[in-house]
Structures are given as structure tokens and as C-alpha cells.
Symmetry: C2
Subunit: 303 residues, 2 copies
């Protein structure tokens, strides 16, 4: 099960209802933050998620609104007796910024911070391979080094119940070995993984923060079950989107459509619209009907 | 008129209802922040106070919960076209911390930041003299360099209406000159400021954040109209207060009593009490009856 919690959905300026960007992706025991804007630790508290569970943070870029919550989380983890290392992934400059954050206030650090700088050039690159998932990244087109991320659950085997039933095999520990890809013998019959299991495609969640349009965004989003994408502006402010290297909701919808994504959730709205986001939503839905607007504390479960 | 707005009243860990410490003091055109915990810019937004109006920030010490909101405010001010300098006052180390904050994320700074380090030694020192008020500071007893602040409105002249009325002088621009301390002549009569005006004592507001008890706290709080004081712990956790160099509510009340303060407002409560602060409040009120507990967004006006 993949659970997504939107912790912050504003852009540079927070509003009464929206905090700075941060999205939590939980997959089994792994708690991953995508961006970590100022105030994220309080948003976690309100969402009743312990920051102690977070093991990985992926920073798209080092504009303050995407990263200024890191210091507070690091201080609170230290004060809570954290010992497990925290992994931070981000674009060029991440090592320097993390080091400066650690020297921007006084605290006693009790745990290691492992920083991984991502240098994708013009390609999509794999930045992490875990047992059951991989994280990919690519550069986006913003005014400082910025990356997007894609969480890809690996293909997994599922028992072909109809097939194993033929041999009277139902609910038995030996099925675990078959699911792990072993050939098993049951009552004198060999059952191979090729016949006794089916391969199920893993889920894919892509996270795109600040960027102008670029074809690579469609590549990294390709066939995503869920595409989380910035939509700072509505069409009425298309020029501002271009000037500040951001997306309109309509362009985000086009990316989702061309990538054949299943669902699009927009976030990172300019404060100028306040709660009045209906026109921005409609502009996206015209292009990609399965578009939702994120709110702070919205939760999505992908099964 | 002095207006105080509590922007954050928690201690290190924020809660659902309390953000990290920050208190705004507004006096005529001056907007001064005392401490600036993470999330202060959003609290300002919710309180409908423009960060652009802030001209001075007083940081008691550089634990993250008192200072990690500075970076976000600086970024937002820059993005909003701020040109006026921002003054930051804080204890030893402030120059280094401010410089590291500026390098802990990417932004374009458009305005000057003037940093003033306070080195009070064992005495109370004046850190700022404005036209109508002064700010004093002293070191407090915490585990890193920490200071307290006192805002003192200067004594001001008020027209002695009964006296000037004798000469038939009511509502006339010449009264402005008298109020400014000039001797005036009205219908052949000399009216001196000594007789034509009375001196009114200015208001005093003292802000004490993290500290153990020290006699100097009573000195700096002396005859404050309002003493804002940390009260991390209730008496049941007296040992923790000592271990972490904090005050109990009862000790804060003793400071207010010995300083002959008029009113005490407690803030900076340990998260462990949640909303259950009645016992802490009662322990303080037994010693100093005019004690209130601060909540986020509470406003106080001193006339």
C-alpha cells in the first residue's frame, strides 16, 4: 500500500489554509518526504505522523519554500533521541545547503545525515534502489538547479490462486517460497513461478515541483498511477508562469495527458488565487478530466 | 498605544494549536518581533499582519525553535520587493548564524540586514534608543548564550488641561509646542512646561524566553506593565526545568511578584501538557494573581 499525505500545498507565500510544499509518501516502513517547506514539522504533528519515522527526504530545489523546514525537523529529531541516519537527496548544491543549515542554529546532532547529490544531466537517472521500489529523477527547467522525482514500485509476483488450487494447494507457508520466485514441489508436483504466479506491475507516483514545460517531464511521468504536479498559475497569468519558470494548470494537465498518467493532483498554487481555484481546476480538467486539486492534509491511498 | 500579538507560544515542539515562539510588539510605526520561530511568516499571514512592516527582530538565542522562521521571512520580504533594512538584534553568535541562514537556501536579497550583537556581561545594557522608546537587554541563564529584552517607552509630557484652561487655552496648535517642552506665551501669559504639562511614565514590556532563575530577571522586569515570561514546566517537572535550564510557572510568577510587575503572561509551554495547562496556571496565580496564559494570536493593547 502506498499512502500519500499532502503536508503543504502553497507556493512561496503560505496562506491561512496552505503551508509551504511538502508531500509524504509512505510505503511499508519507509516514510519519504518530497520537499520540506518551513513548518513541515508542525504539519506532521497535526497529521499525527511522527517525524521520527521519516528516513528519506527528497528536495527538488533549494528555494526556501521547499526546504526551510529541514532545520526544524533535524533539531526535533535530535532532541527526540534519533539515532537512525536521515538520507537527504537533492540537486547540485545540496551538500553545501545542508551543511549551512546545520550551522544556522544551535543544536546537538545525535544522528548521521547522508546527503546524496543528484546530477542527472539531460537524462532520467535512478537515484535509489530499495528492495521493493526505485526512485528516479530528472532535471526540470527552473531558475536554479531543480529536479523531479518518480517513485516506482517494482513488479511483484502474486500467487496464481486458480493454478495452485488445482493441486489442492491453498494457504500454506510453502506459497511464500513460490511467491519469492522459487520452484516448489507439492505432493509430487513441481510448481514453477512461471505458472504458479503472475507478475503484477508496480505503482508509480511522480512528483514535479517548480519548472517550465519540458518534454522530459512527460518521460518521467510516463504511465504514472499518480502525477503530483505544480500548477502555480491559471491561464490568465500565463506570462507570469513563463517569467518565473512555472507551470499553468493547463500545461500540467497536458503533461499528464501526454504521459498517459492515470490521475493528476495539482498543488503549489500562487497565493493570489486564495481559495478561488475553480477556474484553474477547470482549465486542467478540460485537458485531463481526472485532475484533482490538493489541499493540506489530503490523503490518497494507492492499493 | 502598544499592541502585542502572540504569534507562537509553544516551546521546542509545536503542537496543533501552538506554533514556535514569536511575539510581535507594535508601537506606532515600529513592528518588532521578539523571537522568530519556524512558521512565523504564516502566523503573521493568519494574524493579517504584513511582514513588510517589520523593522526589527530581537532573537533571545539561537536554538532553532526561536530563530528558524527568519530565513522564510527574509525570502518573502525579498520576493515582495523590500528595500528598507531589517535590523536583527541577538546574543553573541548572531552575526555568524544570520550569515549561515542567508547561505542555507537560494534567494536574491534586495535589502540590507543590519546585525547587532548584544554582549551584556552581567549587567543590563541599552541596545537601542529610538525617539520614543528604548530597548534594554541582559543575559539569562540558559545552556547557550541567551538574552532577555525590555521595551521601555520614554516618559512623555501630557498637557495639564486644568492649568492651561485657566488662561482660556483649549485646543490650539500652540499646545503642541508646550507638549514638546517649550515655554509658550498665550495672551500675555508665560506658560512653562513645568506648570503647563505633567510627565507621564512610559509603559514597560519585558520579554523573557529560555532561562533558569537569576536575580537579574527581576531587575530587568522591574515594574513592567507587562511581563511576558517562559513557563516551560509545572512544578511536577521542577527537576526537568533545572536540567534543561528553564522556568516553572511558579518561578516565573515569583519573578513577576518580586519585580512588582503589573501583569504576567506566560508562554513557551512544554508540549507534554497539551491543552491541559490549568495546574500550571494555578501554580502561578497562587504567587502572582494577575497571571494569564498566552495563546497563539492573543492580542493585548496597553494604552
Amino acid at each position: 500500500m502506498i499512502e500519500i499525505v499532502f503536508l503543504g500545498t502553497s507556493s512561496m507565500f503560505p496562506t491561512e489554509k496552505r503551508n509551504h510544499p511538502s508531500v509524504l509518501l509512505r510505503y511499508e516502513g519507509d516514510y519519504m518526504l518530497f520537499d520540506c517547506g518551513e513548518g513541515t514539522q508542525r504539519q506532521l504533528r497535526i497529521a499525527k505522523i511522527s517525524p521520527m519515522k521519516i528516513n528519506r527526504v527528497f528536495i527538488t530545489h533549494w528555494h526556501g519554500d521547499h526546504a526551510l523546514g529541514l532545520g526544524g525537523i533535524i533539531q526535533s529529531l535530535s532532541a527526540s533521541g534519533r539515532e537512525k541516519a536521515l538520507e537527504i537527496y537533492g540537486p547540485k548544491g545540496t551538500k553545501k545547503y545542508v551543511s549551512n543549515i546545520m550551522n544556522s542554529f544551535s543544536f546537538v546532532k545525535n544522528f548521521d545525515i547522508e546527503v546524496h547529490e543528484i546530477l542527472p544531466g539531460k537524462k532520467i537517472c535512478k537515484v535509489l534502489e530499495a528492495e521493493k521500489y526505485e526512485i528516479f529523477s530528472c532535471a526540470t527547467k527552473h531558475n536554479i538547479p531543480t529536479v523531479a522525482f518518480s517513485f516506482c514500485e517494482k513488479e511483484r509476483r502474486k500467487i496464481n490462486l486458480d493454478y495452485v488450487k488445482k493441486y489442492g494447494l491453498v494457504k500454506h507457508p510453502i506459497l511464500g517460497r513460490l511467491q519469492n520466485g522459487e520452484t516448489i514441489t507439492w505432493k509430487g508436483h513441481k510448481i514453477t513461478p512461471a505458472k504458479g504466479t503472475v507478475l503484477v506491475k508496480g505503482k508509480k507516483v511522480t512528483y514535479i515541483a517548480d519548472t517550465s514545460y519540458d518534454r522530459i517531464l512527460e518521460e518521467i511521468s510516463k504511465e504514472s498511477d499518480l502525477l503530483i504536479c505544480e500548477a502555480s498559475f491559471a491561464n490568465e497569468h500565463k506570462e507570469l508562469a513563463e517569467e518565473y519558470a512555472h507551470l499553468t494548470a493547463e500545461t500540467a494537465a497536458n503533461i499528464a495527458k501526454n504521459a498517459k498518467a492515470k490521475e493528476l493532483i495539482l498543488f503549489h498554487f500562487s497565493q493570489r488565487y486564495g481559495d478561488d481555484l475553480e477556474h484553474l481546476h477547470n482549465e486542467a480538467k478540460k485537458v485531463f478530466p481526472n485532475t484533482k486539486l490538493a489541499n493540506d492534509f489530503m490523503r490518497i491511498v494507492l492499493n
